[in-house]
Structures are given as structure tokens and as C-alpha cells.
Symmetry: C2
Subunit: 359 residues, 2 copies
């Protein structure tokens, strides 16, 4: 069983194919015999899936090279990006070559930015292997690398020609990372879709147990919701901001404790509860909705309390350095009920501090 979602954007559209054992199938990659590809992957994913993908592509007449980079957010650097570009050049890849990103969000981001820059742009294909990257990075065309002075500060808006989501890859994903992906899934329910939130309350255990039908529906629906938001606002001027629910608080946790100690999804989980507290303090959200959100996060095995070793005051400097801050004004996305959010400017710092303290 395969689901296909067509993402329609200004200049072109591309398909997201969702199903089992897709690494062993050819047509959803939208490649042709005689083409050349470079597969970029990491040291964790390479031993699990790289050979399967190479064998399948070579069998269909696609000439395949690969580059394996270290795994983890701390390697989302100019050096890793440059190593992909160097591999492309060293193997004489031309403008008609295609770059395949096989891995999680880091690989997708770095390889996507390499594809955007190589000879001013070659085609690329996303093969996201974590739940987080499947629901988050497949849609939107955001690619980036980190700079010592800021996360995701260097990059491009660049769309793939195809996204291949192989559900079978989730079997090797650590439980903690599966839960981190569910934080972004739950986010879509809170910001946009009450019924989807209801569905998640009913099926959260199916997702944790990797039930294929539940996963397939869930990922398809999240990509669909994100595609609607992105189509309305491709370069993040406005509406796209709602996707950042929990991210401004969450970024502070990640930055203060060091990326990787708390997974992105874990920080978003706690960040969403802080944003919910902000909404409550502003008289915009009921306690019953907060309880529903918190319970679903708990059932998804996500943290719901702030890290105790981090002081309440230490959040603010990070939050004020956020890319979405406009001239020193704090801008936050807050839920006003399950399935709806508002973007609020100029929130008082005392409210922010109290929101943090309450979680």
C-alpha cells in the first residue's frame, strides 16, 4: 500500500510517496536509467540502508556514488556541506546529476543546501529516515547549515524533485527519537486540526507500535497540513510562523543545554506547554485543553516538565536571539484552543517568565 501526496508550489510540484520497503522500489524516485546520483548519508544510516538503495538504483541503470558523513546536529556544518560538494566535484558530477539525501533532518538540510549550491543548483531527492524528518523536513524546502554563531543561519529555500518516505526505516529508529517525532505530529493537531488531535488521542499507541496504517495516515496528514501552510507562504513572511509553536521556548532549552542533550522534539514538547501557559495567562486558553495536550504528550513518552538544571531567567537571552524576533520584540505563537493558534507580538517578559515557571 502506497500513498502519494502531491505538493504544489509556485514554480513546480513534487510527489511525496509514503509506504513500506520503498528503498527496494524504483519508480517513486522519478529517476531514469543512465542518470548519475550521489547519495549523501551518515554513519548510522549507511550500514543499515545504503547498500539496499545502491543495489536497487544500479539494477535500474542509475550510476551511483555515495558520501558518508558523521551523524548528529554538531556536524551540520560548513565543513560537512563542503565535503559533499567536494565529492560531487571529485567524481565529475555535472549539472544533470541528482543528489539523494538518505537520513534524518540533518542530512536532509545539509545535502539539500549542497544541491542548491552545486553549480548553482542540481536536482535532489529526500529520503527521510526518522519520523521527525518525515513529517517536518519533507515539505517546505528549507535547507540549512549551522554557524558557530547561530543555528540554521546559512541556507536556501530549495525544493526536492521527489520525497520518498519508507516506513520500514522506522523499525531501526530508537524509541526516544520516535517520540521526538511525535512531538511535531502533535503540534499539527494543536495548531491546525482538532479532529486530527482527537485521532491522535485514539491512535497514539498504534503509532508507538509502528502500526503501518496508522503511521501512513499520520505522516500523510501532517505533510498535507504543512503543505497547505507552506503553499500560502513559501518564504516564511507570515502564516508559516504558526509552525513554530513551542519552538521559541524550545530553542532556548536546546541552545542552553547544548544541542543533542535534549532532542529537538523533546524541547518542542516542553515548549508547547510553555506556550499553552502563556495563552492561559493571557486568558486565551482553558485549563482542560492544557490537560489534554499534556496527557497526549505524556502518552507519547515525551517530557512535560522543564529541565531542572536550567534557570527561568536563562531562557530570555536565547528567545530574544531567535530568527523570528523583529527589532527586539518577542513574538510568540500561542494556542487559543486545540486546533487553533495566534501569533502574538510584544508579550510582557513577566508573562514569559511565569509561563516557564509553570511547566
Amino acid at each position: 500500500m502506497q500513498k502519494i501526496l502531491n505538493v504544489a508550489l509556485a514554480k513546480r510540484s513534487y510527489p511525496i510517496t509514503i509506504g513500506e520497503n520503498l528503498l527496494s522500489g524504483f519508480q517513486h524516485f522519478k529517476l531514469q536509467a543512465g542518470q548519475r546520483v550521489l547519495i549523501a548519508t551518515n554513519e548510522t544510516i549507511a550500514p543499515l540502508y545504503l547498500q539496499t538503495l545502491i543495489d536497487m538504483l544500479e539494477k535500474h541503470g542509475v550510476k551511483t556514488d555515495s558520501v558518508v558523513v558523521p551523524d548528529g546536529e554538531k556536524y551540520k556544518t560548513i565543513e560537512t556541506w563542503n565535503s559533499i560538494l567536494t565529492t560531487l566535484l571529485a567524481n565529475n558530477h555535472t549539472r544533470s546529476s541528482i543528489l539523494i539525501a538518505l537520513g534524518g533532518g540533518v542530512i536532509g538540510d545539509v545535502a539539500g543546501f549542497a544541491a542548491s549550491a552545486y553549480q548553482r543548483g542540481i536536482k535532489f531527492i529526500q529520503v527521510p529516515t526518522t519520523l521527525l524528518s518525515q513529517v517536518d523536513s519533507s515539505v517546505g524546502g528549507k535547507t540549512a547549515i549551522n554557524h558557530p554563531l547561530g543555528k540554521n543561519m546559512i541556507g536556501a529555500f530549495y525544493q526536492p524533485q521527489s520525497v520518498v518516505i519508507d516506513l520500514s526505516c522506522l523499525k531501526t529508529l530508537p524509541q526516544r527519537e520516535l517520540s521526538a517525532g511525535l512531538a511535531e505530529v502533535i503540534k499539527y493537531g494543536i495548531i491546525l486540526d482538532t479532529k486530527f488531535f482527537d485521532w491522535l488521542e485514539e491512535h497514539i499507541n498504534d503509532l508507538l507500535n509502528l502500526d503501518v496504517n496508522a503511521l501512513s495516515y499520520c505522516i500523510y496528514h501532517c505533510c498535507e497540513l504543512k503543505a497547505q501552510v507552506v503553499a500560502a507562504d513559501e518564504t516564511e513572511q507570515n502564516m508559516r510562523a504558526i509552525l513554530n509553536l513551542g519552538h521559541t521556548y524550545g530553542h532556548a532549552i536546546e541552545a542552553e543545554l547544548g544541542y543533542g542533550n535534549w532532542l529537538h522534539g523533546e524541547a518542542v514538547s516542553v515548549g508547547m506547554l510553555m506556550a499553552a501557559q502563556t495563552a492561559k495567562l493571557l486568558g486565551k486558553l482553558d485549563q482542560t485543553d492544557i490537560e489534554r495536550i499534556k496527557n497526549l504528550l505524556i502518552r507519547a513518552k515525551l517530557p512535560v516538565n522543564r529541565p531542572k538544571k536550567m534557570s527561568i531567567e536563562s531562557y530570555l537571552p536565547h528567545m530574544l536571539r531567535d530568527k523570528k524576533v523583529l527589532s527586539g520584540q518577542l513574538r510568540l505563537v500561542v494556542p487559543t484552543k486545540i486546533g487553533h493558534v495566534e501569533v502574538m507580538d510584544g508579550i510582557d517578559k513577566s508573562i514569559v517568565l511565569e509561563s516557564i515557571a509553570n511547566v
Copy 2:
């Protein structure tokens, strides 16, 4: 006296303003009081024009930082690009900041690519200070850096919000670089415009003497011609190739002798004569047209004989490594009369070698 050319491209259009003392005027920059800019320039241009530009911008309420990088093609690197990005971050520039490139083609290319990548794209303004960059880099949106394995291999197609061509900057340009710029000017006559070639034969001395009216007309017209070509083919799939007249042969000279020993325009001058020889050997160009081209290049103080220390055979490997080579087939732009070129595929190597030998 100012001339304004509006360049209309798919998503947006921008003005090229051509005139004297434009660094002392504000409105053609399309900036507003309260905005922040970073000026990227090089060690040669900074002492000549940086303070003038800063003073004018600050006077109009624009907050200005600057970054000065080393001068020359060999600094068109990832490191220089990163140093511009680091300056943007270190000074807390946001998505609404504007990057100004003040200098020749190298600065325009590196800063343009930095603007395209900073926070996935900020606005930028080109202030080209050499004749070559004024006629060549102002239009087309090509930005790039070099990689040890290839020139211009990493970059983006990214359009400026405004181009400011201050003719007064040409007063400090070395004569040799002025002539190198004229090579690209003469190229436009050969590929697209017989009448413009006639005009150049009449006014080449005026241009060498920096006559403002002649320069203004000439630069405006070259930008106009290039804009027509680029508008028809923004991402270089097809027609844009005609702009590469003389560049495939010329690249070989630059690459073999080391970038900077022969200026780009000097290599293009000799390269155009080699392409003319190719056309003649294929029975497509008269000797009288070759003589006219050669005489104009001589009067522009450009080289018209190949570098003697470079063997005829040494051109081929470089020519086959060109970005425009498709699967090992040599593709050359050749003039068929003054004002017209053809793109030819699969030219026999013996013809290429004889073309080189004849120049």
C-alpha cells in the same frame, strides 16, 4: 545625467542606475532611513570609496557596518564567503538587513552568494566598480565562489534589488583592467549587434579616455543586451550560452597559466579570435570580419595572440572540463558574422587545434 535601465525578470524587476558620483547620492540605492546594511568590499576599493559610501548612507539614516576582504580571484573562496556571513552574524544582522557589494566581479559574486544564503536570503545591492563587472555581473543574477576543484562551482542564481554603476569609479581603474572590460563590451557587438560593433569602432578611443557620454551609452546598451538574453533563459538552459563566446578557449588560458596572470578579459579577447578561426575553418565566417574583430581588439589594447609559453595541446583538457560540456562533447559558440553567433556541438578536435594554432 543618469540613465536607468529596468531589468525585468520572472519574479521581480530591479533598476540599474548609471551615472557620475552616484556613491554620493541616495535614492538609486532604494534604501530607507532606519534600515541596516553591511557593505562588503576589498582592500583595494576600501581606501578609495568605502568612507564616501558610509558617510552618505549614515547621513540618510541607514545604519552601516562594513567588512573588507582581500582583493583578487584567489580569494573567491568558501573562507571569504564565510567571513562575510560571520560579520553579518557577529553584528546581529536580521533578515531585513541589506548586503551591499562594493567592488569588482569577485566581490559581487562572493557577496551575492552570501546574501542568497544568509538566513536563506536577504536583499542585496550591487555597486560594481570595474568596467567588466559593470557590463557583465550587473545582469544575470549569477553568484558563485570557487572550489579548489573548479571555478564558480558553488553558488546561486540570485537577483539584486538594485545595481548602482558609478562611472566616476572608473577613474581609479588601471588601464589594463579597463581594456579587459572592453573585451566583454566588444563581445556583445559580435554576438548580438552589428550596429553596436560599428559604434564601438567609432568610439573605442572615447571609451579608453573615459568619456562619460560614451561610457554611459556603452554600459547601458551592454546591460540591455544581456538582460534580453537572460530574461529569455534565466537559469542557463539554452540561449544564455551565446554569452560564452570566447570563454571556453579563454578558460583554458586562465586555468593553464593560473588565474590572474592573464586577466579574464584578456583571455576572452584571444578566445574570441580562436572561436572566429573555428567559424572560418567551418566555412561560416569571412576573413574580413575576422580582421575587423582583431583590429578593434588591438585598438582596445587587448592581446590578439595566444600566450606563447602554452602548448596547443594543453588547451583541450581544460576545454573538456568546462561546465557547459555535455557528456564529453565539445560545445562552442562561434560567430557566423559580426552581430550573430551559433552554438555548435561535436566540433572535431583537429579543427579546435588548428583554430588555436592560427591565433
